[in-house]
């Protein structure tokens, strides 16, 4: 219950002041994202005009690479940081708007398949990460945080669990650093593996949504493959995110039974508090699209708006990834995370292949 912890209160900041503070960073996100879009359009044309052989690099990758270059060379100045942190808001807004591209029947069908795979993935990932953490002698609560981060939804799950199991700030920093570093790696490795294995858009999207931990990275890894794969990755990842409350509640009850965390009083209220509300927004827009509340042109406009929101997200993924900061966090949590991620990636790939045979995709 991260929100219920009595933190030392800083002077309250007025929403208007807070809004002004994020403007420089949001403009930076827009500039980096738009530069990625311009590069996608112009580099290919330039290379073709000069008869160069140059791979077609999508705006997603350009935006991430420009962000990474800024973050890991000159760094992100303080004035931009609040705004850059809004990438998570743009991500969730983009996902809600993307609901216009899914008819309810598709959501129920694909979501049903995803839900079954997600349940198996979560159980397998938690069991394996717990075993691995013990084998490497990590602190038990750090192991719990890494397990939740790998199994459910990366940084958000770690932050939600940290409060619920009363883990140290240091443990959650280790776990977040490991998950972010591995997320950054997955952006580059997943599309390569997908192409090498000739995965269909459907199979790849499902795999990225099941195996990549952070929602932003899962969305980007899907979009790097194709538009259709990006849509599927978002759906599978959103299904995974919806499970966060149950997993955090289970951990909270376990650590309370060990006498190392507070008991959870009202379990229904706890589940509601941890439930990612943007999933409801996504479903609502999908229901509206299914019952023709939007014309075809309006649905296209909403889908384009969602792409603009994702453009800011992808810029933010690059800008907030600083490899120097991650290196400072130590090797063991990273090693546990890396081994776990490889095993989870192979495990989920096998799950997707099995589901593909069963459902024919």
């Amino acid at each position: 219950m991260a929100d219920a912890i009595a933190l030392p209160q800083a002077r309250p900041v007025q929403p208007a002041v807070q809004f002004l503070r994020v403007i420089p960073g949001v403009l930076l996100l827009a500039a980096v994202g738009y530069a990625g879009k311009l590069l996608e359009r112009n580099v290919g044309t330039y290379a073709k005009a000069h008869h160069w052989t140059f791979p077609n690099i999508e705006y997603v990758l350009w935006a991430i690479l420009i962000g990474l270059a800024i973050s890991n060379t000159v760094g992100v100045p303080q004035i931009f940081r609040s705004g850059v942190a809004t990438y998570e808001f743009w991500l969730k807004t983009g996902i809600v708007l993307l609901g216009s591209r899914f008819l309810l029947g598709d959501v129920l069908k694909l979501g049903g398949v995803s839900l079954a795979l997600v349940a198996i993935e979560i159980a397998g990932a938690i069991a394996f990460m717990t075993f691995l953490g013990r084998a490497f002698g990590l602190r038990p609560k750090l192991t719990s945080l890494l397990a939740v981060g790998s199994a459910v939804c990366g940084v958000s799950a770690i932050i939600a669990t940290q409060g619920a199991i009363e883990a140290d700030e240091e443990d959650s920093s280790f776990a977040i650093a490991a998950i972010l570093a591995l997320g950054a790696l997955s952006l580059f490795t997943f599309p390569l593996i997908g192409h090498a294995l000739h995965l269909s858009d459907h199979a790849y999207g499902l795999w990225a949504g099941l195996a990549v931990d952070n929602t932003a990275e899962a969305t980007a890894a899907g979009a790097l493959y194709s538009d259709a794969a990006g849509k599927l990755a978002v759906l599978a990842k959103t299904t995974r995110n919806a499970m966060i409350g149950f997993v955090v509640l289970a951990y909270a009850i376990y650590w309370a039974s060990q006498g190392q965390a507070k008991m959870v009083g009202n379990k229904a209220a706890f589940l509601w508090q941890k439930f990612p509300k943007f999933v409801l927004g996504f479903l609502l827009i999908s229901v509206l699209a299914t019952y023709h509340f939007f014309t075809k042109e309006q649905a296209t406009a909403l889908a384009n708006l969602s792409r603009w929101a994702f453009l800011l997200t992808f810029a933010g993924v690059g800008l907030r990834t600083n490899f120097r900061e991650m290196r400072k966090q130590g090797l063991r949590p990273f090693a546990v995370g890396a081994i776990g991620e490889v095993v989870i990636a192979v495990f989920t790939l096998a799950l997707v292949a099995g589901a593909g045979k069963l459902f024919g995709f």
Partner: protein, 43 residues
């Protein structure tokens, strides 16, 4: 990671959570498009 710290610490000063704001803004945008305030969004 500084960005994560910022988003965590400033959540309360935004009145609503990031998730709720995302839903509010997306629904508002959907309504503006639905009722013709914005007719098309180029990409």
């Amino acid at each position: 990671m500084s960005s994560n710290t910022v988003s965590l610490n400033t959540r309360n000063s935004w009145l609503l959570s990031i998730d709720s704001w995302a839903v509010v803004v997306a629904l508002l945008a959907a309504l503006l498009i639905r009722f013709g305030v914005f007719t098309r969004v180029p990409w």
